[in-house]
Structures are given as C-alpha cells and as structure tokens.
Symmetry: C2
Subunit: 564 residues, 2 copies
C-alpha cells in the first residue's frame, strides 16, 4: 500500500477525520457568514487564474481596549472548528452564484464545491494568552481565494471574544481575587450568541459562574441564580402557602408548620433589645415569597431583599426565614442587593447579620454571603472598594457583556506575503501601516520572570536565544530600540491547523484550562502594565533585520510627493 508521506493515514481522504473538531458552537457560522466582497474577490482571483497563489495574512489589533495596556486573546477554539469544517453546501453555492454581480461561470461553482481548508495552515497564539497590539494573534497561510473567504468569520469570532474576555479580566482585576464574580448579562447582550459568547468568554477571563443556562450546558460553566423581584411581588400573603411542612436537614424530624416558625422568629427579632425600633411591620408578600422559596430550596436559600425596603423589610424577613431554617439544620446562603447604595446597604446588612449571630448564638450567621448587582462595571467596583463594602459576590450584566465602555475591538486581517513576496499596506496614519512578511513572534522574559517585550522576526531568522543580547526595535519609530538579554524565550505562534500537511497540531484545550492559562498569565505580568490608571505600555518590537526590511519596502511602495 502506498502511503502519502505528508499524511500518516494515507487511506483517509485529505484529513484525518478523527482529528477534526466539531463545528462551531453556533450553527449559523457557515462559509456564508462573510462579506460579499470575499466572494467577488474570490471570483476575480479565480477568473485571473490567481486563486491558488499562496498568501499569508496576519490577524491582529492595533490598540488595547478600555484604555488599558493588555488584551486577552480568545475565540481560537471556534476559529479552528470553523476552519476544520469549512465546506459549501449546494444551496450555499447556488446562493453565492445568484449574489455575484453579473454572470458567474460554472467553473467557479465547481471550484467552490471542491473547496475546504486542507491547503490552509493556521498558526496562533494560545487562547487565553495576554496579548498586545501589532503582534499577530493568527497567521493564516493558504491559497489566496480561500484565505480571503475566511477573513470575515475569523475576525468576527476573535473580535468580540477577545474584547469580552479582556473586559472580564479587567473586572476581576478591580474586584480582587477573593470575590466571586457572576455574569448576569444574557438579557441585555447583543443577540442570542452575544449572550452565549459573553458567558463563555467572561468565564475564560476570570469570572466564576454565569446565569445563562444554555452556556452552562454548552461549556460546563458553573450556573448561579435564585429569584427576581417578580417572584417576590407574585405573593400576596402567607396564607397562600399551602404545604407548610419541612423535614429537618438530616431527615430525623419534620416541622409541620414552617410558616409559624418563620413568624415566631420574625417576632423574636423584632422584640429583641438588639433590634428594637429598627423596623416595624415588614412586607408580608415578601415574607411569603421568602418562606415559599426556602421551602423549595432549604439548602440553597438566597433572597433578593430590595423589592420593598432593604433594612426595614428585606433583611429582617430574610433573617427570620434563615433562623427558622437554622432550627431545622439548614444553613441559609445569603442575600442579594439589586439597588440603592451598595456600600452602605452591604455594611448595614453585615452589622445586622453579626448582631443576629450574637443575639441568638448562631455561629457563622455574621458571615452570611452578600451578593450585589445593579449596573455594575469597573468604575463602580472601584468606587465600592474605595468606600469600603461588605459584598462577597458581584453580579455583572450589561456593562460586562455589551462591553459598554468600548463596544468593539478593532482586529484587522492584512496580507503580509504573496508568492513569497512580502506585502505592506501603507497609510497616512503610521499606526495603520502593516508589518510585512511571514513572521515568527517571541515573548522575551527578564530576570524577575516578567515578560519584557514581544519581538517579531522574519520567518527564517534564527530564533532569539536565552542569554543572548538582542536588539529590539520599535517597528516604526527609528529612535525607539533596546537591547534585551532574555532569561526565557517563548515562541508565540503555534500550529493549530496544519491543513493536510500532516504536521503536528496543538491540542484545543478545554475551556477550564484556557481560563487557567489566562489567570496565570495575568498574574505573571509586571503590575505597572496592569494598573487601571496610566498603565505602562508593554513593548512590542521587531528584529533589526525585519526593521530594515519594512523601511526598504515602505520607501519602495510609497509614491513620491511633489510640492506645488
């Protein structure tokens, strides 16, 4: 049997199907999820016989979002799922045909019919990495027509994923390691998979759980949630509770009238010397709702306490139910605040809980968990920290998932080489000039273990070596350069899709591992790059050789002006 040297499984068609990941999470991500001009260009390339010319494109961004100096790279897993399953259906081909302006030759449809990504190679930085402007996140090489068709979907899959992961990481940075962060944004997200994506990439960026059940199921993200204001106001009085019995936690006994037990506790609190005068009659529909919820979830009683009045109704009602549960051996989980002055209310609630612990001798009651939500963002978390607060967990919605502070990341996709000829995209704005050539990138680490600089080199330059003195140059600013002697050198671009080349391919790790990488990488960064106010830019450079080549090419391509 003849075995194809490039493909260890010569008897399979072009791919080793065992290694092909599933398709994209969202079934709407098909080869048609692209801009029309990718098809008009593909047709023009095909007409010119140019479609098979080998091109290299870089996908990168030009500026970190949210006024920060770092970005989290996310979306790679979905990109590879898309690339691996890239294939047109007959219906799709028919639609492309009718969408192209003018008449489309049959040969082009045949070409599309046979198209897949077996001739495409995709290199990428590991998902969950801390990344910086200008350094390619993806390097895609292949026949120019097919790589162009990938442009829009790859940008779509990376842009928002990286933006929201970065946003999540920034929220985590402000909240601190010890707080629980919950993503609650599905209802305000930009469309259904704006919501699902937000949940996935917020978790990747350091959140602990989501309210989004679909995302929990798709990605194994921990789920959290209890009840809303509507639940509270759906009750009118305690009379509505029909089945009032609750077995004790260990099953040894049963309380026949849990409602009375709750009322007894509410009375005890109200008339104890510690609380006298703090509150009068609490809202009875709220008390009924809490009691009913506790009967359904005696082990997971967490109550939203701000439907009527936090201190005069919500907290006393919660404590009465929690103490009644405590009598039966259950431990209440805590409260959620969704309005008002969260710093003040969380402090008052904490005092109340501590007073209950002391007054009624219930160990641990003072440590009752306090969750806060209500339009939180980086700024409000920061303000809460400055004021002092007693919140244990934050639910963040709108501002996190829609990236309200900056709703888009500007990743671009630029041709850097065709037929082994380097290409440059010029612009009057220097920050928009592309860095030509098929490149490698490295992260160089210093003595203290921090990353010092990222450096891009030509594909065939020798890689930087530990202990060697390396000149790192700003790609466009002649005077900015520095020597670095790295203590560790990490090559950034790894092969995630070798096409049919039979090269080794990086594994796509599970989401939890990507999240761990992200958290670890963030911890490894020098603190001044990470701070919210005036962070220090991380340095991104090119080798001396690449620098010279960029500027040679630039001069070559730019028209010479004539002053008139």
């Amino acid at each position: 049997m003849e075995v194809n040297a490039n493909c260890p499984n010569g008897d399979r068609s072009r791919f080793d199907s065992a290694r092909i990941p599933d398709g994209p999470t969202n079934p709407m991500v098909t080869p048609l999820l692209t801009d029309l001009y990718q098809f008009t260009m593909a047709y023009a390339y095909w007409k010119a016989g140019k479609h098979q010319e080998r091109a290299v494109f870089d996908l990168y961004f030009r500026k970190n979002p949210f006024g920060g100096e770092y970005t989290i790279f996310a979306g790679l897993d979905e990109c590879i799922r898309f690339v691996a399953n890239f294939k047109f259906s007959e219906d799709e081909i028919a639609f492309v045909r009718q969408s192209l302006p003018g008449s489309c030759e049959d040969g082009f449809c045949n070409y599309l019919r046979g198209l897949d990504c077996s001739e495409v190679e995709l290199y990428a930085i590991a998902e969950g990495s801390v990344v910086f402007p200008k350094v390619p996140l993806l390097r895609i090489e292949g026949p120019i027509a097919v790589v162009q068709l990938l442009e829009t979907p790859l940008l779509n899959l990376v842009n928002y994923a990286s933006l929201v992961a970065t946003n999540a990481a920034r929220h985590r940075f402000v909240a601190g390691k010890s707080k629980i962060l919950l993503e609650f944004g599905l209802r305000r997200a930009q469309g259904p998979d704006g919501g699902v994506g937000a949940s996935k990439y917020s978790y990747l960026g350091g959140f602990d759980a989501t309210s989004n059940v679909a995302a929990g199921r798709l990605f194994g993200i921990p789920l959290r949630g209890t009840h809303s204001h509507a639940f509270v106001s759906s009750y009118m009085s305690l009379d509505e509770i029909v089945d009032k019995s609750l077995p004790s936690s260990d099953g040894s006994s049963s309380c026949e009238d849990f409602v009375s037990l709750v009322q007894t506790w509410l009375n005890k609190i109200q008339w104890s010397s510690a609380f006298r005068g703090i509150f009068g009659e609490t809202n009875q529909s709220e008390l009924a709702a809490f009691t009913s919820y506790a009967l359904a979830f005696p082990n997971n009683f967490l109550a939203l306490v701000d439907t009527y009045d936090v201190m005069r109704s919500g907290i006393p009602n919660f404590c009465a139910v929690a103490l009644a549960l405590n009598d039966l051996g259950y431990k209440a989980m805590g409260i959620r605040l969704d309005s008002g002055d969260l710093a003040y209310l969380s402090g008052e609630a904490r005092k109340f809980f501590r007073a209950i612990e002391k007054e009624f001798g219930v160990p641990g009651f003072g440590k009752m968990s306090i969750t806060a939500s209500n339009d939180l963002n980086e700024e409000t978390l920061d303000a809460l920290n400055k004021q002092g607060h007693e919140v244990d967990a934050f639910g963040v919605g709108t501002n996190l998932v829609t990236c309200f502070a900056q709703a888009a990341l500007g990743c671009v996709f630029k041709l850097v080489e065709i037929n082994n000829q380097p290409r440059i995209k010029l612009s009057e704005d220097v920050s928009k000039v592309s860095i030509p050539c098929k490149k490698r990138s490295y992260r160089l680490y210093g003595k203290e273990g921090y990353p010092l600089v990222d450096i891009m080199t030509g594909e065939n330059e020798p890689s930087p070596k530990v202990g060697e003195r390396i000149l790192c140059r700003h790609p466009f600013n002649e005077s900015k350069r520095a020597y670095v002697v790295p203590q560790k050198v990490e090559e950034l671009l790894k092969c995630y899709w070798p096409g049919s080349l039979g090269k080794a391919r990086e594994e796509l790790p599970p989401l939890k591992d990507i999240r761990d990488r992200c958290i670890k990488q963030l911890e490894q960064m020098r603190p001044d790059h990470m701070r919210r106010l005036n962070p220090t830019p991380y340095k991104v450079s090119v080798s001396a050789k690449l620098y010279d080549f960029i500027h040679f090419l630039w001069l070559n391509e730019a028209p010479v002006g004539e002053l008139q």
Copy 2:
C-alpha cells in the same frame, strides 16, 4: 365529534400547526437560553402549587437610547417564533434537573415535559413601530411559571434588535433620504448573530443593503461588496494578467488586449492638458488589480482607491480602467474611499470625474458613484454634511452594529398583575417604579396628522374616541397633565400569539414590509421629536383612572418611614 369551544380545530392537538411559524433564526435560541433563576423560580412556584396562577407581565424600556427621544421596536418576529416553538427536549430537562440546587422532584420534570405556550397570550406593538419609554412593547399573559421562563429570551430578542434598528434609523436621519446606506459591520459585531442581527435590523431601520452574505440569504436583504485593500496589494504588476481579452458589452466585438487599452487611457489622462502635473507614475500593482477586477466584473466595476494614494494613484488608475470599459460599452460603477479626509477627497474625486467627462466627452462620468467607509457614525455623517461632500453611499460598520455610542437598551420585564390583582414594583428611583395593571395603550393623533401622545388605560376602561376630550396624565408627576381631542386613535397592542384561545392572530409581515412601516412611521413624527440636538420628548401618559389607581397602590405597598 366534540369540538373544543376555544379551539376551532378540535381534532388538532392544541395548536393549529399550519399557523405555527418556523423556529427562531438562530437554532441556539431554545428554552435553555434563559437565566437559571427562571428555573429556580419555576420550581419554587411548582412546589408551592402556584405555577398555574395567571400573571401579566409588561416588557418595556425606560429611556430612549443615543440621547434621542424615540426608539424603533424590533425583534417581535423572532419572539413569536420562539414562543410558538417553545418546548423542552429530554436532554434539556435532564440538564435543568442537574442544574437546580438541591434535589429536584420528578414531578417538576414531568411538568417541564408537558410545557408549551398554549396557555400564553402575547400582545405586542407592530414591529417597526416608533415607540416610547414606559409603554409596553409586549404584554405577556399566562401561567406565571412559563411566562417567567420566557423573560430572558424575550428581553434578549428585543433589546439588541430595537437598539440597532434605532441606531440605523438615526444614521438614516443624518444621512438623508437620497443617500445609499450600507451595513458593513459583520467582522466587528458582537458574535456571529450579533452580525446577522445587525444586518437584519439595520435594514429594518432604513439601511439599503448589507455586506453580510448569510443575512442576505436568510432575510432577502440586498447584498453589496466589491474588493478590499488585500486584493489590491495581492497584485504586483500588469504582467500577472494572463487572459487580457474582454468582449464588448453587446457581444458584437472583443478587445484582445484590455490591459493595453487601460494603459493607453492612463497615458491619455496623464498627458492631457486638464490633468498635467496632477499625478506622476501611478502604482502598478493597483492598476493591475483594478484591471483584473474589471475583467471579472465589467458591468460592476467599483474600485477601492485608497490603498496607496487616492489622488495620485487610485483615481487616475480607476479612471483609466473605467474609460477602457466605456470604450467597450460598459459603465463603471464608481469608487470607494476608506481613509483620509472623506469630505475633501470626495470633492476632489468628483472634480476629477467631471474633468474626465468634459475632456474626453464621456456623458455621465462626472456622476460616478462615490462610496465612503472608515469608522463612520452619526457624528461623522453630520460633520460631513456640514463640510459639504460628494459621497453618494456610506458603508457603516463598527459604530452601527455594536451600537458603540450606547451598547445596550435597558428593556425590562415587570409583573403587573397576578390572579387579577394588580402589582407594582416600587423603587427609590421614581423612574424605576412600574405601572401596574393589565393595560391597553393607544396612540392619539392631532389635527396635523402627527402622533400627539401615547396613553395607557386599564384593560376594561372604554377606549379613547376620536373627537372626545381626554385627560392624559403623566404617570408619576401630579402636575403634568393635558387634555387632548384626538383626530385619530390607534390601539397599539395587538394579539400576535393567542395561545390555544383561537383568537385571531396578527400576521407576521415580511421584513420588507416591517421596514416600510418603520420608514413611514418615522416620516409621520413631528420633526422636533426627531432632531439630533435637544429633541422634544414625546408624551407618554396614563388615563385619570389609571393614575389614581397607581397612586393608591403605591401608598398601600410602600412602608412608612420613621425619622429617628
């Protein structure tokens, strides 16, 4: 045969399946696309035997987006598709079971198994309508547990859809009726169906076309697109063009060397007295790319002219190709500018085209279409108008689709009645107090045909009548009230989903019709509500009877404070 009085087709199960629309566009929109707390609440309701209690919820927003005084309602079609097909699979039920905290009784799973929206009634304002704060966009009535489960997906489907439709309408307002508006945002959208949704709802809000092929296919939106900078820089020289022949437009003859024809024209332009000294040697890779593109699309030649230098290379190269096409009977479409000073460059390009028309006697050449893109938004469109420009079509991407100026609309979903008992949600912030009761809403029109005020009444109040003097009260501000004598009265909420009640159901019109409604309604508004600077708020009111009831309920529910 016994016929169910409520259901004209008693032999069918619960629905008339012929009337059930297809499922949501995005197959990820399933009953699990909701917050976990909807399930914990459903479980608690079910445990308390309360799940079948009939509840009414309103879905509305509190504030118009983008600093404006109007909003476009969108997303209804997807909401109805979702509601009509609401059903749990066994896998989904198993996942819910394992996701609920504590142990979940089998009975609840059986309950979920039988659940659909046959007992739900959904009333809505017509999609594409101009709408205002506080007035319900949707009124959903049904068993409380199932209506709660609908909350998150309905909010998700309405929030972004309405936001982006409003954003599109605002862009159209600034651009003016005569300009062509193209949505180019897929690559920067918040996830794949952030992109698809943006295309759909931008079209609804008044855009003319999209670059998004998938959206074109799904919704029949016109598609537009030509080529990118990469296409231009993928060419090195004219030598790359192998097949140089082009038949004439009418097929009567053929040009064997179109490349030479282009070069001849470039020479003619360069040396004609009208253009002498304006440009020197143009970029040859650009010329090759334009020529090649024209060979592929001779009837649809539109070139991106800013890869190297608009006036010294792009425009002359474009004109040479366009004039060569003209020789063969083809009419070039125009250019696209994607960087630089669009006002200035479009003006210069127009002058160049007019000079060509005059110099070479090509009628219509001066009217060549100019498309502009590059980070456009309301402000830049407005600034271009003020400066004066020659742009015919605008491509808007990032700012449109991510709603960069305000990335979220804050629709909420509030319980207004349960078991025929009106409910109110209080808040220290008056703007967050909900308007209780199952309500009807009307739009009252004045003599000049403009809408004057929206008014909400209790469900059983007589409807306002034409010519009758009606007292319209601000729901929360005692002193704000006005008498109105309407010339036309329009009931806003129509039944879009009667459940199994057999009531007549409003048709879901095709997207094109929804778009027409939107454009027509926008034209009908009094101009001062629509202007960008300091628009006049449109009035939203309640009937005198509803006003009195709101304030009675408010006093009843609010705890009385004690000053200490």
